[in-house]
Each structure stands twice: as structure tokens, then as C-alpha cells.
């Protein structure tokens, strides 16, 4: 079954065609690295797959749901970790985690496992989120996504700001997710690090997806 199916998708940001005719097929259980220069359209592509971008032209479906009509359903089934962590600065780490876990319908056990998984220091639970470092914020955001156990992971530069241990966790997150049958799209500039853990790589450039010779 194809989890991501995009055909000639055009997405406009204002008047700017961030995606100019992207076509991509990703099968269930596959992990795909998106690489390409800044401004190539990687983040827009991930947001599109998360159901957060309106499709101007072209057709597509995510997890079998139409990208024009069923974005509401798509948004509830994917796990997006992007540049924005979606955390409330005024709440503590623990409060943020508990709030979002309940909002995404994760059980307290699932949240506990996710916290364990991301190796978040329990002493940080009572620290206001605004005092966290960028890496700690990212771990928290990843934990929220992990608690949700998404069928499709959408990771936008997940290593950014993380220390060595954190990067290793992200790598194992990708392999474990695909091993469990989930699908992963990961945009990254850390090609040497990510290439070994993904099934294949595609190049995003000029709002298009260039496949073929780049396969790992």
C-alpha cells in the first residue's frame, strides 16, 4: 500500500510556488531521506504530507486519504516534528508533555515510554519550557510525536540542535519506526548520518522531487 502518493502537486505560498509539480510514491514501512538545498521545498513537502498545506494543483493522498478533501483526517494520523516545537513557553516540560499527550489521545503509559525513549531528564519536568535549550525542546517535541505512535513520521531536520546522544536516538527512532511498520519521511542535511538508516533518498529541488540515480 502506498502511504504517500503525490502526483504533480503545486503548493503556493502567497504567489510563490514552493512546490512546483512534486510527484512521489512512498510505500508502507519505507523510510525516505529528503535532501536538497535550503528553500528547495522540503519543509513545504512535509507540511503538505501533514495536511497543513492547501493543494493548488495536482492530486494526492496520504494514508489513503485525499489531500483535497480529507486533510482533517490526515492531520490526526501523522506525527510532524518541524522547526516549530508547538510547546507553550509558560508551561513546564511535564505540563506540556501531559497536555499534548492527552490532546493527541496518547495514554499515560505511551507518554512514559516516549519520555524514556527520548531520554528526557526527569529533573526537567518542573522546569518552564522557555528555559530549555533548543536540543531539550526538540527532544520534548519528538517525545510528543512518539507518544502518538504515528503511522507516518514527518521529520524536518530532526537532528538540529541535538547532542551526539540525541542524534543517535533520532537514528534509532527512524529504524525502529520502520521496523514496526510505520513510514518515515525525513528531511535532513546530515546525509552521512541519515543515509545508512533509510531505505532510499530523493532530492528535492526547485519544488520538484528528483528520483532515480540517487537511490542508496
Amino acid at each position: 500500500m502506498s502511504v504517500v502518493s503525490l502526483r504533480n502537486i503545486v503548493v503556493l505560498l502567497g504567489q510563490f510556488p514552493a512546490l512546483s509539480g512534486a510527484t512521489l510514491e512512498v510505500q508502507a514501512g519505507e523510510s525516505v531521506l529528503l535532501q536538497g538545498p535550503n528553500g528547495a521545498g522540503k519543509s513545504t513537502l512535509l507540511r503538505l504530507c501533514a495536511g497543513l498545506q492547501r493543494v493548488e494543483r495536482g492530486d494526492g493522498s496520504i494514508l489513503g486519504h485525499d489531500l483535497h478533501r480529507e486533510r482533517r483526517i490526515i492531520r490526526r494520523r501523522v506525527g510532524l516534528v518541524g522547526h516549530r516545537t508547538m510547546l507553550y513557553d509558560d508551561l513546564t516540560t511535564g505540563e506540556n508533555l501531559r497536555f499534548w499527550a492527552r490532546a493527541v489521545r496518547a495514554t499515560p503509559e505511551e507518554l512514559d515510554q516516549a519520555i524514556e525513549r527520548m531520554q528526557i531528564d526527569r529533573r526537567l519536568m518542573d522546569v518552564p519550557t522557555r528555559q530549555l535549550s533548543a536540543g531539550q525542546r526538540r527532544r520534548t517535541a519528538l517525545a510528543v510525536a512518539a507518544a502518538r505512535r504515528p503511522e507516518l513520521w514527518l521529520l524536518d531536520e530532526p537532528h538540529a540542535g541535538l547532542d551526539q546522544a540525541g542524534r543517535d536516538i533520532v537514528d534509532s527512532l527512524i529504524t525502529d519506526a520502520t521496523a514496526a511498520g510505520a513510514t518515515v519521511l525525513v528531511a535532513s542535511h546530515e546525509l552521512d548520518r541519515v543515509r545508512p538508516v533509510v531505505d532510499r533518498q530523493v532530492t528535492v529541488a526547485g519544488g520538484l522531487i528528483l528520483e532515480g540515480a540517487d537511490a542508496v
Binding site: M86, L91, W100
Partner: protein, 222 residues
């Protein structure tokens, strides 16, 4: 449904408890407005007592603009609005949750201000029940309409300047109704305050309903 409403309301109130914006900034602002009215009206206590209902509700509505703004802006800090969009929460639950939190804050504000006008303006009170029920009904109306129009402007940079143009005409009937009911409760206007209370309740119900329905369309795309 109800637990989701409480989840959102609890989150907003907890953020408020930590940041203390409403308590430390909005309430003092509203009290300052009351003091300014006193200066502008020449410290003539009989004038102030006569116009207490109107002055009070103008102060509440002005302060509510700030509270609404705060309620919206705490969502777009680090993309939390998109997080809500991607969560399993129903848009109506999000609307009602945010409305409940805003109403709770406004209720606190209204009660502090009520103490303010009773002390500063020396307004007499004939009917405490009517006074309190009017405050509750009007504040629910202001909170519901404020949450709806605030959601309309989520993610907009020009929010601070557009919100007053949008919200103040909508709240005009609340100012009319609540001032009249207060006038009756304070004995300064011969009118049937209880029927005004009824219409204020109608306004509140209407906006809670419209907001719950409309919020889905508003959350769709920022």
C-alpha cells in the same frame, strides 16, 4: 467532549497562572480606566454614581480586548495553534475550552472592578442578585464573542488593531443591556433589569453556539 473542554481551559488558565498577564496587567489597566473616568468627570461623586453602570461596562469591555488578545497570542508562540489542528481535539471543544478560560479570567476582572466602582464611585446597590447574575451573563457573552472574533484573527499580524473594530460594535448590545440591568440593580434607572438579564443570557448562548459551529471553519487554515 467535556474533558477536552476542561483540558483546553485548564491549559489556558495554567498558562495565565504562570505568566500572570491578566492579573498583573489587564486588571490594573481596567482600574486605571476607572480612575481616569473619575478625573475626567471632575470628581463629582453624584455624577460618578449616576453613570457607574455605563462607565463600569465600558471599562470591562476595554479590558476584555486585552484579555482576548492575550488568549489568542498564547497559541501562536511556537506553532501551538498547528499542534491543536493536528491533535484529536474537536474544534468546538477547543473553542469552548478557550472561551471558558477567558470567561473565568474576565469574571475575576469584573468582580475586582465591581469592588472598584463600589468603593471609588460610591455607587449604591439595591439588588445584589441582579447585579451578580448580570455580571455573569454579560461576561459569558463578552468571552464567547471575544473568543470567536479572536480565533478569526489568529495568526494575523494586524490583530491588535483589527480586533477592536471587529469586536466593539458586536459588544455594543452587551454594553447597552448590562448597563441597563446594572442601572436597575443600582437604582439609578427605572427599568426592568431582569428582562435585560434575560436578553444578555440569550446573547451569551447565541455566541457560545455560533462559536462552537464556526470554529471548525476557522481552524481549518491559518
Amino acid at each position: 467532549m467535556l474533558s477536552d473542554v476542561l483540558l483546553i481551559a485548564g491549559k489556558d488558565l495554567r498558562v495565565e497562572l504562570r505568566s500572570r498577564i491578566a492579573l498583573n496587567q489587564v486588571v490594573p489597566f481596567a482600574l486605571l480606566v476607572l480612575v481616569l473616568f473619575g478625573f475626567a468627570l471632575d470628581a463629582d461623586s453624584s455624577t460618578l454614581a449616576t453613570f457607574t453602570p455605563g462607565l463600569y461596562w465600558v471599562a470591562v469591555v476595554l479590558a476584555a480586548l486585552l484579555a482576548v488578545h492575550r488568549s489568542v497570542s498564547l497559541e501562536d508562540g511556537d506553532g501551538a495553534d498547528e499542534g491543536l489542528l493536528m491533535s484529536g481535539l474537536h474544534p468546538a471543544s477547543v473553542f469552548l475550552g478557550k472561551a471558558v478560560a477567558l470567561i473565568a479570567e474576565l469574571l475575576l476582572l469584573a468582580l475586582v472592578l465591581l469592588g472598584g466602582v463600589l468603593i471609588l464611585y460610591g455607587a449604591p446597590v439595591d439588588d445584589v442578585t441582579l447585579l451578580l447574575l448580570t455580571t455573569v451573563a454579560a461576561v459569558i457573552g463578552v468571552g464567547a464573542a471575544g473568543t470567536l472574533y479572536g480565533a478569526l484573527l489568529s495568526g494575523q499580524r494586524a490583530r491588535e488593531t483589527i480586533l477592536p473594530i471587529l469586536l466593539l460594535p458586536v459588544l455594543a448590545p452587551v454594553v447597552i443591556g448590562a448597563s441597563r440591568a446594572f442601572g436597575d440593580a443600582m437604582g439609578s434607572v427605572a427599568t426592568d433589569g431582569w428582562s435585560w438579564l434575560l436578553s444578555l443570557t440569550g446573547f451569551a448562548m447565541l455566541y457560545l453556539a455560533v462559536g462552537s459551529v464556526a470554529h471548525g471553519a476557522l481552524m481549518e487554515e491559518a
